[in-house]
Structure formats: structure tokens, C-alpha cells
């Protein structure tokens, strides 16, 4: 389960990966363009022109490659490391180094699973607060849906988009 927000403190987009077996979450701060790409896919929005990850998907489909899965498998110097597992037309698996943002944007488009390694999860997952009121706020934050129009306005203000 995933969600995407603007961190209110530093106005940076953050992807939230939720544990399926607990209330723990892993927040991953990402770039605006990648966040926009993830947001549009989560919301089922289609633009006139393909975004970078749309082209990435087109390339994979054109060569008969599949995306087996993406795994966020390391955390070094506060930077998350991901691996994308590509299945070639000949059926061979290739492991490629990637950022979580690109991995997630691509996985959403190709309907591929997104995993986080246990040791990364244990190191970076956040416990919800003990206090009931705080807990409620936290859950609300995690479950709150991204409003794409707001996000887009935010991006537009910053002069994003273009050819």
C-alpha cells in the first residue's frame, strides 16, 4: 500500500510505503518530477505527452521485456537504493540499480509488485505514536489521499512541466 504527500515541513514530496502486517510506514522523500509521475499514475491521469516513465514503459513493451518486481533493498547514507528486475524477451532476469522513485513510477505503470527488504524496513520503519490523538492524526495523514489538482498547482508554481 502506498501513498504520496507533500511534506508540510520542507514542501518536498514523500512516498509512503505501508507495511501490510502492521501500522508501520516507511517514508521516502523523492524529487518533484518523479512524484508528479507517480501521482498521475496513482490517479489514473493521462497526459497528451508521455512522461519519462511512460517512455520507459513503451521501450520495455516494444522490446518484449517485463518488469518482474522492484525491491528497495538498501539504505546507505540516508539514501534508499532499489533494484529493478527486468525479464528479457528471452526470459532472462536482469537486475538493474535504480532510485526508489523511478522504480515505483515504473512498477505502478507495469502493474509490478513493489517490495522493501526486511533489513531496510527494520531500520527505517516508523511506529505510529502511542498517544491516541496523535495516533489519529498520524493515521489520517497516512490514509489521506493526494489531491492531484493541488499537487499540480504546487508543481506549476515551481515552473515544472514542459516538453
Amino acid at each position: 500500500m502506498k501513498a504520496l504527500f507533500i511534506d508540510p515541513v520542507n514542501r518536498t514530496p514523500v512516498v509512503v510505503l505501508k507495511d501490510m502486517h502492521s501500522s508501520k510506514i516507511v517514508p521516502i522523500w523523492i524529487g518533484e518530477t518523479e512524484a508528479f509521475s507517480i501521482a498521475t499514475e496513482l490517479q489514473g491521469q493521462k497526459f497528451a505527452r508521455p512522461l519519462s516513465h511512460d517512455l520507459m514503459k513503451s521501450i520495455m513493451e516494444a522490446v518484449g521485456a517485463k518488469l518482474e518486481k522492484v525491491v528497495i533493498n538498501d539504505l546507505r547514507d540516508n539514501v534508499y537504493i532499489a533494484t529493478v528486475y527486468i525479464k528479457t524477451a528471452a526470459g532472462e532476469i536482469r537486475e538493474l540499480d535504480a532510485r526508489p522513485s523511478d522504480s515505483i513510477a515504473l512498477a505502478l505503470r507495469m502493474h509490478s509488485p513493489i517490495y522493501i527488504a526486511d533489513h531496510v524496513f527494520d531500520k527505517s520503519a516508523i511506529e505510529p505514536p502511542e498517544d491516541e490523538e496523535e495516533k489519529e492524526k498520524f493515521t489520517e495523514f497516512v490514509d489521506k489521499e493526494l489531491r492531484l489538482s493541488e499537487f499540480r498547482r504546487y508543481i506549476d508554481d515551481k515552473g515544472q512541466g514542459g516538453s
Copy 2:
């Protein structure tokens, strides 16, 4: 021949494609992230983590695909349209719809040629000014090299980057 600048009027990055047989140029305004990706490749900069177009290149190499060429082949409602020509491992050519920014960022990485269709060039190429002083300024603008450090500072100010 290409160059990359920040348009001083609206602070938007612009890629400049130069005609090899005249002094005419075609300016294409693009997004910041794509401009950053083009700039780093033009300057031979390598980052610890792969950018979107680095991953795109990795995917193509992993599946044995080649980038034959990219062609900016249309201009609709002031938006440039490009086609990327992918050669599969089996030797088949696939034509994919793309934005010029992604096409150029990928072509630079894969050392593939970048073309602009004659009818697009004729419609959008700019003549250098007649006046000598203006002409000099114009040439200086076109030939001026991007300073990546400045560009990066500009991007950092806007909160770009991330995982």
C-alpha cells in the same frame, strides 16, 4: 549541435538545436528535471544514483536494444513531438512517441543522432538578428556554455533532486 540555457525571461530551461548549415536555431523549452539530466550528460557528470534516463539506458542495454536515432518530427499547438527509433535485439525497428526532452537526454547517453524534420525546422527556426550588435549578443547567447554548478544551485533552490 546543441546547447542548454536558462531562459532569463521566465527562468525556464531551453535546449537549443543548431542548424549545421546555417546560423539558424530551434529553441525548445523543457522541464527542469529533464534539463538537469541533459546538462549532467553534456558535462560528463556522474552521480552516485542513476537519473531516470540513466535507468532508461540501463534497461535498453540489459535487453540488447539500441537507439537508432531520435527525430523531432512535429510541432502541434506549440508542443514539439519526437519519435525515438529503437532497434530490438532481434534487429526490428520500433517507433515510439516521446517528448524531445526525454529523447535528447536518452540520445546523448546512447551516442545516437538527434534530428529535426525539415518542415518542423522551417516552421520554428529563428533567424539571427540583422543588427550587428544584436547579432553578436545572440551568437554569444547561443554559444555560451551552461555552467552546471549554477544550474544545479538553481535547481537546488527549487527543491529538486531526491531519491
